[in-house]
């Protein structure tokens, strides 16, 4: 039998958890419901309400015909821009991070700690501080306002995270395994491909989810370094809300937000259980 005080405590915890959960989910529910209501209905009633008529046309319009900053192509091209930035940047930064983490954790060389320290310092460097250096780099490389420029920025900046994640994971690989491979005569890349990489799926899934979500949702670089048709969807959403300033189009806006948020949400839904597992799991024993 639990004491009454303990029972009360448990109830308090449950109420707090449910309260916080609902508070977090309310905005999402409001946005999803609004995306299914017509503009008239929203303006005539309230921002918060159940749809009287389920209006799916918002999605069709926002995807392919709605006008954003004088271009009437919907958010489809911007979604494709985001994908063109996020997918290569995620894959390249994850793979390079795996190699770098492997080198730092399993190969001792002079100054390895310094290099690790410098690389991970990037994790704590605020985005704004890097704006001007990147502007200069993009200008000098002639990559201003290009998708390739954003891919480069996100790949390089992502390396701090991916290297840190992979390095910590690889630290758990037993030293004897490396010794055995040395005696067998395997070199740097053969050990990586044949021994380390096959052990890596848990941490690779973690870094891919992390990188994908982070790069997809990134806004500052997108809005700073690209304009017009080159912008990723996060930047385009701002143009959309600017247009909405004259005539409120909350239904369309909400639909655009839901569509733009869908890819990282799906990635998390499919890989989420690996994410939680990978962050806590050690390597093979």
């Amino acid at each position: 039998m639990r004491s009454p005080a303990a029972t009360l405590g448990r109830w308090a915890i449950h109420i707090a958890i449910w309260g916080l959960g609902i508070a977090y989910l309310v905005p999402l529910v409001v946005v999803v419901l609004n995306s299914l209501r017509s503009a008239e209905e929203i303006t005539q009633t309230s921002m918060i309400g159940w749809p009287h008529i389920w209006e799916f046309s918002n999605y069709i319009q926002v995807w392919s015909t709605y006008c954003i900053a004088q271009t009437c192509s919907g958010i489809r091209p911007y979604m494709l821009n985001s994908a063109a930035v996020t997918i290569p940047a995620t894959l390249i930064s994850t793979l390079l991070g795996a190699v770098a983490g492997y080198a730092i954790s399993l190969w001792r060389f002079k100054g390895d700690r310094w290099i690790f320290g410098l690389v991970t310092a990037g994790v704590f460097l605020p985005e704004q501080m890097r704006l001007i250096p990147w502007t200069i780099v993009l200008r000098d490389l002639g990559m201003t306002n290009t998708i390739a420029g954003l891919v480069m920025i996100h790949t390089i900046q992502g390396l701090s995270f991916t290297t840190l994640f992979c390095r910590n994971y690889y630290m758990a690989i037993p030293a004897d395994l490396m010794k055995a491979a040395h005696i067998d005569g395997a070199g740097f890349f053969r050990i990586f491909w044949r021994i380390v990489l096959p052990l890596s799926p848990p941490i690779l899934i973690v870094t891919v989810i992390w990188q994908f979500t982070h790069i997809w949702n990134e806004f500052l670089y997108g809005v700073t370094f690209t304009t017009g048709q080159q912008q990723p969807v996060t930047a385009a959403l701002i143009a959309l809300s600017a247009a909405v300033a004259d005539v409120p189009q909350h239904g369309l806006q909400s639909a655009a937000v839901v569509v733009a948020a869908l890819p990282p949400l799906l990635v998390y839904l499919f890989g989420g259980r690996y994410f939680v597992r990978g962050l806590t799991a050690g390597a093979v024993k």
Partner: protein, 360 residues
């Protein structure tokens, strides 16, 4: 010819000396065990032989060739690890052939080598499995297969049995010994377990604090330990070491007098340390050696008995000094009472109390 020679090897980590001038000369076909308590430097020495760590100074010569600057893969060695170190994502077959794959050995030759080793170790049914699907003993066997397939000049074993349960350890111990007898390989084997050392080795190097205390065959190590450390490290329960005195050709401990070995002549009237193995203190009816010599009879109070089943370990006061004896299990001893014991004085050791070195 010597398969492995180590000359004046030093290893320092910063200012800490881990190996302080190691000299070993290991013959072809020898089964050499490096034994010592943890932290004595034995694993570091093995890693340096393998080329996984570098020596601070000194030379390592394998098969007549100085290998100090040669990479592990080119030293013609194979190593078996305590943790087995099997590649988790590869099958047993791939684990065994990985080294050959790295050396670009043609496929038919690899297959032939795997078949030979798998037959030798009786692991043929396991070839398609992953390490995670194997038991501890099977993993150990595969790890040995990976070493054997190389047919190297030198086998290095780093505490290979420490992760096995007691029963399996005894089995694998015998198997490795038989394997050595069959293929005649030169083996350097590191362990902290003195029983493994005694049972398997043809030569034992007892290490302590970065130095080789004694390098000899098991019998010499056991019966003529070079110093008090070796005497007490080898053997379980350990050798009794008690303060004694040499007087008129006898070793005197309290009221107990034992005949002193001839080599103790120069120590007449001086203090020594007497070393006597527990099995040399037995029940009074015991006869020692092939000739069945009766022991020297003493009376001693019994402080504690520990029956192990096969024998009883007894703590007694010999001339006032606390020592361990080993008596037959059917002898009933009363704790607190005085009982008779027979002492085998043929194998006693005497050590210099200052240097702790063997004098006789």
């Amino acid at each position: 010819m010597s398969a492995l020679v180590i000359r004046d090897l030093h290893k320092r980590f910063g200012s800490v000396g881990v190996l302080k001038g190691i000299n070993l000369d290991i013959d072809d076909g020898d089964f050499t065990v490096l034994v010592g308590p943890s932290g004595c430097g034995k694993s570091t020495l093995l890693n340096i032989i393998a080329g996984l760590e570098t020596a601070s100074s000194g030379e390592i010569v394998i098969d007549g060739k100085v290998v100090n600057t040669i990479a592990p893969k080119d030293r013609d060695i194979a190593m078996v690890f305590q943790t087995y170190a099997l590649y988790p994502s590869m099958t047993v077959r791939q684990n065994i052939t990985f080294g050959m794959e790295c050396r670009n050995v043609p496929k038919p030759q690899r297959e032939e080598a795997v078949a030979r080793v798998a037959r030798l170790l009786q692991i043929e049914p396991l070839l398609g499995r992953k390490p995670a699907q194997l038991s501890g003993g099977q993993r150990q066997r595969v790890a040995m297969g990976r070493a054997l397939v190389r047919d190297p000049k030198l086998f290095l074993f780093d505490e290979p049995l420490s992760n096995l349960d007691a029963k399996l350890r005894v089995e694998m111990r015998m198997e490795i010994k038989q394997l050595h007898a069959r293929i005649g390989a030169t083996i350097v084997y590191v362990t902290h377990d003195q029983i493994e050392a005694m049972t398997m080795a043809t030569r034992i190097a007892v290490m302590h604090q970065g130095e080789v205390q004694q390098f000899a065959d098991p019998e010499t190590i056991y019966n003529r330990p070079a110093n008090v450390f070796v005497a007490r490290f080898m053997g379980a329960p350990p050798m009794n070491t008690v303060p004694a005195r040499i007087a008129s050709g006898q070793v005197v401990v309290g009221d107990v007098r034992l005949p002193a070995p001839p080599a103790a002549a120069g120590w007449e009237g001086r203090e020594v340390i007497l070393g006597i193995r527990p099995e040399c203190i037995a029940e009074p009816t015991r006869q020692f050696g092939e000739a069945g010599t009766p022991g020297i009879r003493i009376m001693a109070p019994v402080e504690l008995t520990e029956p192990t089943g096969a024998e009883t370990i007894v703590v007694l006061r010999m001339g006032g000094e606390k020592v361990l004896g080993r008596v037959a299990p059917d002898i009933r001893l009363t704790v607190g009472a005085t009982a008779a014991f027979a002492i085998d004085a043929r194998k006693i050791c005497l050590f210099d109390p200052q240097t702790e070195r063997l004098i006789a």
